[in-house]
Symmetry: C2
Subunit: 220 residues, 2 copies
Amino acid sequence: MPANPDRDLPLRERKKLRTHRALVDAALRLFLERGFDEITLDEVVDEVEVSKRTFFRYFSSKEDVATAAETELWDAYVAGFARTPLDGPVLATLRRALVSALEGMDAEWERRFIATRGLIARTPALRDHSNVCSLRTQERLVEQIESKLAVDSRADVRLRLLGELAVGAWRCGAKNWVRQERHSERKGHGARDTLVSRVVEAFDALPSAVVMTPEAAEGD
Amino acid sequence: MPANPDRDLPLRERKKLRTHRALVDAALRLFLERGFDEITLDEVVDEVEVSKRTFFRYFSSKEDVATAAETELWDAYVAGFARTPLDGPVLATLRRALVSALEGMDAEWERRFIATRGLIARTPALRDHSNVCSLRTQERLVEQIESKLAVDSRADVRLRLLGELAVGAWRCGAKNWVRQERHSERKGHGARDTLVSRVVEAFDALPSAVVMTPEAAEGD
DNA sequence: TGTAAACTGCCACTGAATGACATTATTGCT
DNA sequence: AGCAATAATGTCATTCAGTGGCAGTTTACA
């Protein structure tokens, strides 16, 4: 349990991080045990011994707490991309930053993330929420691209398309990864590597997808 | 008021279409007058003189009724694409089918659609819902591509990428169209043409976006 | 005409989500 | 160390989207 926040933080901040973490963990555990739709927020907050009002001070919705692991990844991605200068193909930079974010997350996150994606895959409301969050991330990336290039995405639609391409590649790669994991007994070690591979594969397939014809389709 | 459904339909079907239409129209009118979040479903159903229980037999959510015009477009797109044989670049077929769907919708739909997009643009919950619907449409397109090509999208990630590219282009083009319309006094005639142009522009920019470098960015 | 199926409405209820305001805990300064 | 200010939390009432169960009404068909 990595509840050892930065000792330099004031007590208030430390307590907030603890509560946030406790809510995320309790929620994920309960949702995994009995299903997202079968657990009420009252049950979650009872576990952590906080009020529901407090819950909503930390999370904007029930779906938010359930998909916290993904949010952490998006935050890392956007922060990493912000720190990366643009040189060479923009899409390659977007790809590199995403891979870097994925590889930089710790092992505890990985366990939570894998469990979260499984939960998302079998819960329609969470699938929708996950998609919404990915699109919001696109928007943040586009804003950064606009800023880095000093160009408005209305003037050049390619800037907005880059957001679609990057996060779209993630959606495709992650989707295929989940579907593959569902058929695999290897639920632990190596799953992240496989996810990275699938995402990279999707990025790399973009140029070909753009010009693909029916004859180019591989038989199954 | 195009409430003249097919005379060949049984009375039951005709009444259902009428109720569906009435709910869509009342909801959109009220939402536009006072804002999506300010109108309750009780107000909407009172206008149409049906029960809320009936409302939920027609629509799965409040957001659903608000974005009906978009749903109609997606349905037309998917149906049109289903009827279109794949030849030449797949993306070009996807593009053609979308343009064809857009141009095939009638003038009454166009008015509703423009109003709906304006409402979506200023309502966060509807923006999210609209995005979710577009992603669901992607899924339907991918399923059709899989079927047409007799290939599983897990075996070839490009199939899923094609869905992202097509509907992603829509999102980019439509987004820029809405932002442009917001600054334009021409709210009526010609708006659809402009939307088509922006969407086509986005499709056409995909090959360039994939390889774009910072030096290739246009100044504003 | 009568019956079955489809459709609608009533009603109670649930649970996510919110606003107002009181209470408690922490911080920073003297 | 004490205190005032600030931040965080909890209580409580409420709203409203959404659902299930079941009775009543309408339509279709033999």
